[in-house]
Amino acid sequence: MKQIIQGCLNGDRKSQHAIYKMFYGKMKAVCLRYTRDQDTAQDVLQEGFIKVFNNMERFTGVGSFEGWVRRIMVNMSIDRFRKSKTDILMLGQDTSSEEFEDEIDVEIDEYDKYDFKPEEIIEAMYQLSPAYQTVFNLYVFENYTHMDIAEALGISVGTSKSNFAKAKRNLKKILLTHNHKKANEQDFYSI
């Protein structure tokens, strides 16, 4: 691995190819979670790898190389989100008000009965608003705290928390519905 990294530092195409091949699948999975379709994920991935190759000398050797590559991919995704924030507004994709309708609650121990496939989760995440999707990703997969998320995305801690709660609720709903299980729908007005 050290040799490959050294090769990349020297601009050796073969070493770059080796790194690319080694991390392609895992990093593509990361990018898929943050985008809304395959093509965009692929774009982010390619840009991310270019950044990896161009900034190789910044890898200090502390921590895993994979972790470092992954952080670059995540940061690319965060940058993308930050920059697209205003565009999202203008397209009026804020569907927040309709996302409250009903809630599905599953008893804590019942998750064992479900089997979520990775593709299903990714697919479900495409249905979240970009803000919810990004916050959920950072919290659950990247281990960010709400404070970290707020700082990274330029939002408030409160917004991060509420977006996360709603993202989770929506995701639960999508995934559980997908799993064809009849869950308890809370009907507030029936006595």
Binding site: K21, G25, A29, S84, T86, G92, S97, I108, P118, S162
Partner: protein, 422 residues
């Protein structure tokens, strides 16, 4: 420090663990091309050096460029840095002074390629969409996704704007008090220097104008706005300064609600409040009686006649808020219509409202402070006997009725004194 995940979060984490997509060999070919097109490492280092100089050099020195720049706007508002009115030829010291260092992340600069155009000899920063020549003093965009091949597609002279030496707008600087605001919020526009004599004309970019030197504006639509200022001096010289994307206006929610009475005529007036707010994702209700709610559409019941305040504050994910206060008129006072006396052996004590309604209640009659009768059934009133089946002594007996409202999860207490006569 590790976080504790809820079962659902843990389930999602586990489900995604180890997931990889299959390798796509063709994508490497594309990447290889992309790497090649961005030039060798020497080019890259040069740009990093320029970027470093740009960031760390003070505002006193400026970048020289004698040619028009081809600057392109990236699709989807990709990152760019703005340079306002600060590009001047001084012939000796090469650096860039950004208006805001935060807008120039180093990693972005590392993505920039400058290419030489053989036809015009102009240095270019080129991108893939909406290419146009823009005067440097107005805007300078740095952006990734450079594809040299696309440079050829642009006719260099078509929209070329040359920087005018006479351009004297560089000292016409202005700023907003905020860089983000919500629809309907006031944004202040202020000159960097104290206003000079002349006629001011602000164009807020949304079809509205102002001619005060320092001014304020409320936008009515969300978006990113360009704002320009023109000053016509008494001598008739017009100076203009444009600041593109100077302000981001986020959409504001709008708070509103309606209500309907949903109670049975015999129940306490019960109001279902229907939230009809737009673009909001957080709701906060204040009922003026110390009670609050964060539900979307709460239900309330009222005992007293009168106008009851309901205040709703909503906010959206951009922190924009709106409020609405309305008063719900309650025209009827809810009364139990309990008898004040019963005669032993002939009368049954059961408040009229409970008898005719379908409310959930608990009625308790006391002797002193000891409960002697309890009922949750409207057909089971008190006949004046104590728990041992004997008639109580004539006198006064306090009672308490608790009404349960399933919709509001509220309990309402009523009490009175019943006189038992022989």
């Amino acid at each position: 420090m590790s976080k504790i995940f809820t079962p659902f979060e843990e389930k999602v984490r586990q489900s995604m663990e180890g997931y990889e997509t299959p390798f796509d060999a063709k994508s490497w070919n594309r990447l290889e091309k992309q790497i090649a097109s961005r030039g060798g490492s020497s080019n890259y280092s040069w740009i990093v050096a320029l970027a470093a100089a740009a960031i760390f050099t003070g505002a006193g020195s400026y970048l020289i460029y004698e040619h028009g720049f081809k600057v392109s706007k990236a699709k989807g508002g990709y990152a760019f840095a703005r340079f306002q009115n600060q590009i001047i030829s001084n012939g000796s010291n090469n650096s860039i002074s950004p208006t805001n260092e935060n807008s120039l992340p180093a990693q972005l600069l590392s993505d920039i390629t400058l290419s030489q155009n053989a036809d015009s000899g102009a240095d270019k920063i080129s991108g893939n969409t909406e290419s146009a020549y823009i005067p440097l003093q107005d805007r300078f965009i740095l952006q990734p996704h450079i594809d040299v091949s696309e440079v050829q597609n642009i006719t260099p002279d078509q929209e070329k704007v040359t920087i005018s030496e006479e351009n004297n707008s560089r000292d016409l600087k202005f700023a907003t008090n905020v860089d983000k605001a919500c629809v309907g919020y006031e944004v202040n526009f202020n000159l960097a220097d104290s206003p000079s004599e002349g006629q001011y004309l602000w164009n807020f970019g949304d079809g509205t104008f102002s001619n005060k030197p320092n001014t304020a504006h409320r936008y009515s639509k969300s978006g990113v706005y360009d704002v320009s200022l023109s000053v016509t001096s008494e001598g008739g010289v017009i100076r203009t300064s444009v600041q593109r994307d100077i302000i981001v206006i986020n959409p504001s929610p709008s708070a509103d609600f309606e209500w309907e009475f949903v109670n049975d005529p015999t129940e306490t007036p019960t109001v279902k409040i229907i939230n009809i707010s737009d673009n909001a994702n957080e709701f906060s209700w204040n009922f003026g009686d110390g009670k609050e709610s964060e539900e979307i559409s709460p239900v309330r019941s009222y005992v007293d006649k009168g106008k009851h305040m309901v205040a709703l504050t909503v906010s959206n994910e951009y922190g924009c808020t709106d409020s609405k206060v309305k008063y719900i008129p309650v025209n009827t006072e809810y009364k139990l219509e309990a008898q004040s006396k019963i005669a032993l052996g002939t009368d049954i004590f059961m408040p009229q409202a409970l008898k005719s309604g379908k409310v959930k209640f608990k009625m308790t009659v006391y002797q002193g402070s000891t409960p002697i009768f309890e009922s949750v059934n409207k057909n089971k009133g008190w006949d004046g006997t104590s728990s041992d089946g004997n008639n109580v002594a004539p006198g006064q007996y306090p009672w308490i009725v608790i009404l349960y409202n399933d919709r509001t999860n509220e309990e309402k207490y009523f009490s009175g004194l019943l006189t038992v006569i022989p």
